[in-house]
Amino acid sequence: MTDTRVLLEVENLHTQFDTSAGMVRAVDGISYTVNEGETVGIVGESGCGKSVGAMSILRLIPDPPGRIASGSVRFDGKDLLTMNDAEIREVRGGQISMVFQEPMTSLNPVLSIGLQLCETMEIHLKLGPEEAKARAIELLDLVGISEPARRLQQYPHHLSGGMRQRVMIALALSCKPKLIIADEPTTALDVTIQAQILELMKDLSNRLRVALIIITHNLGVVARYADRVYVMYAGRIVESGSASDIYHRPVHPYTLGLLRSVPRLDRPRGERLIPIDGHPPDLTREIHGCAYRPRCSFAVERCAHEAPRIEEVAPGHASACFEKARLERLLKEAS
């Protein structure tokens, strides 16, 4: 948090998919920054563009049908979107690595753990087979896997989901990246393992000074582990701020809706959860005005014609809502 050097700067990124039903604006002009060593959470419901936004950073969107239409992604002073294939491959795995949602299928079933770990280091760090093996054992030990030397010869089907996700984290860390993008890293794991994996990631990112982007639909995860949070809805960022701002003082009706729809330990038991009515908008159609308007209880006339721009309400805390002042006042009165 004290370190303010900007590592990643995404500006006005647009990613679109051409489908038979028309063009889908999966990411519609998002901008955000990640500082060195910082943990940033990106929250939103399924299909809001949070994964596509992250995949776009490394240009991993299948093209066709996907396409990064406009915007810029600057990482460590270099523009990732204008790099050639060889340059971007250097960045992938070497400087930015990813941890995926599905630990059960993110490791190649026919290759041994050791081979998958060593291969990456031989490519990016130009290590010899022996050095790579030694570092692989070190890494497996670091992520808390017992008997690391023996694991190298095992195959993914010998390991449980949690163990595989630890291997994925070791793989992500293997080439000393500056940034790890974790795309719903714990969604497929059971609750006790989720906490272990997140603790591990947070701990390692602190110790090794690696910045972390955690993409999730779980607000609890974000509140616990992220320094700053971006809330996404329908391909746009609707609110951004520190984790405690978002959790305790939300100034966007969507964030508020999300918070009220999940059970919380700090609220009385038996309190009713309030779901958000309706469905996310169809992204193949152009959205006039605010995308959240049809589901929003704060909507006013203006929301139908004009899309609200994201504006600061307090230093480091911004919201894209015309009625943010009213919302803030109401919440203050309620508490």
């Binding site: 991993l60 066709p64 250097e90 599905e102 490791l107 190649n108 095992q154 010998h158 793989l171």
Partner: protein, 304 residues
């Protein structure tokens, strides 16, 4: 069955680490396979026997397969010549034995070449997708429009005869057949998260195709390979029979059939019968073996 043998193989590796007996599970798996696929096991033995004969041909053949002997032309089977002699006085048994060498060498080489090239091309086509895949598949369609033998004939017409060219002629029509089957399998592999993960780790296209996708397509690859073995032997015999394959005086089953079938069918039928029998048994053994390999590797058939 397949998963059994896989876990056996891998737990074998585990056992080695723990210094326990590592060999037992392999034999256990083999025994189980023999019980489930008795025909496959029998044909497997036949295949092994043929390979043995082909490899040790110089030691097994009682006579030289190419030296002509005009004192013993077209003799019926006897103690001196177990299967008789042909119209040039050459020992038929020796020629059948040496013919196994020709048939298996050409068969194995072209089946392995054809299915391996098909594997690489099929996976590449699936990996790149889009217009490349579309174009490549249309080219394959053109090749597939020709029956095996016609395609092989066309290739021989271009390159000429001789063992090397026969291998090319048999390999080329195999490539699209294997590529198509492998591609459909690779299309599902391409969508697996571990391929995304491989891209996210900065691997090159070549590395992803050869090291990460191709090993996952081993089941269709092996099935096609074993199917091709029988077909390649039959194709080589056909080409040689038509005079477009292996040339005299090399011992080849198709060639022996050509020399003996027409002229000596009545006066010395053994000249055509034995090489014919050799072709039949070889193709039968390889096809049965291929079928049982497919049954073993295909999870949908295994369930029954």
């Amino acid at each position: 069955m397949n998963t059994d043998s896989m876990t056996h193989a891998t737990s074998g590796a585990d056992a080695e680490l723990e210094l326990a007996a590592p060999r037992a599970p392999f034999f256990k798996a083999l025994g189980k396979w023999v019980r489930l696929q008795p025909l496959g096991a029998a044909s497997g033995l036949g295949v092994i026997f043929m390979i043995f004969v082909a490899v040790f041909a110089p030691h097994l053949a009682p006579h030289d397969p190419v030296t002509t002997n005009y004192e013993s032309m077209a003799q019926a089977p006897s103690f001196a010549y177990w299967l008789g002699t042909d119209q040039f006085g050459r020992d038929l048994l020796s020629r059948v034995i040496w013919g196994a060498r020709t048939a298996l060498f050409i068969g194995f080489t072209s089946a392995i070449l054809g299915s391996t090239l098909g594997l690489v091309l099929g996976v590449t086509s699936a990996y790149f997708a889009g217009w490349f895949d579309l174009l490549f598949q249309r080219v394959m369609d053109v090749f597939l429009a020709f029956p095996l033998i016609i395609m092989a004939l066309a290739v021989v017409a271009i390159f000429g005869t001789g063992p090397g060219n026969v291998i090319i002629a048999i390999t080329i029509p195999f490539i699209p057949r294997c590529a198509r089957v492998v591609r459909s399998n690779a299309l599902t592999i391409r969508e697996m998260p571990y391929i995304d993960a491989a891209r996210a780790l900065g691997y090159s296209h070549t590395r992803i195709i050869l090291r990460h996708m191709a090993p996952n397509c081993m089941a269709p690859y092996l099935i096609m390979l074993t199917t091709f073995l029988g077909q390649a032997i039959l194709l080589e015999a056909s080409l040689s029979y038509l005079g477009l394959g292996v040339q005299e005086p090399i011992a080849a089953w198709g060639l022996m059939l050509q020399g003996g079938a027409e002229e000596y069918a009545e006066s010395a039928p053994w000249i055509a019968i034995f090489p014919g029998l050799a072709i039949t048994l070889a193709v039968f053994a390889f096809n049965l073996f291929g079928d049982s390999v497919r049954d073993t590797l295909d999870p949908k058939l295994r369930a029954r």
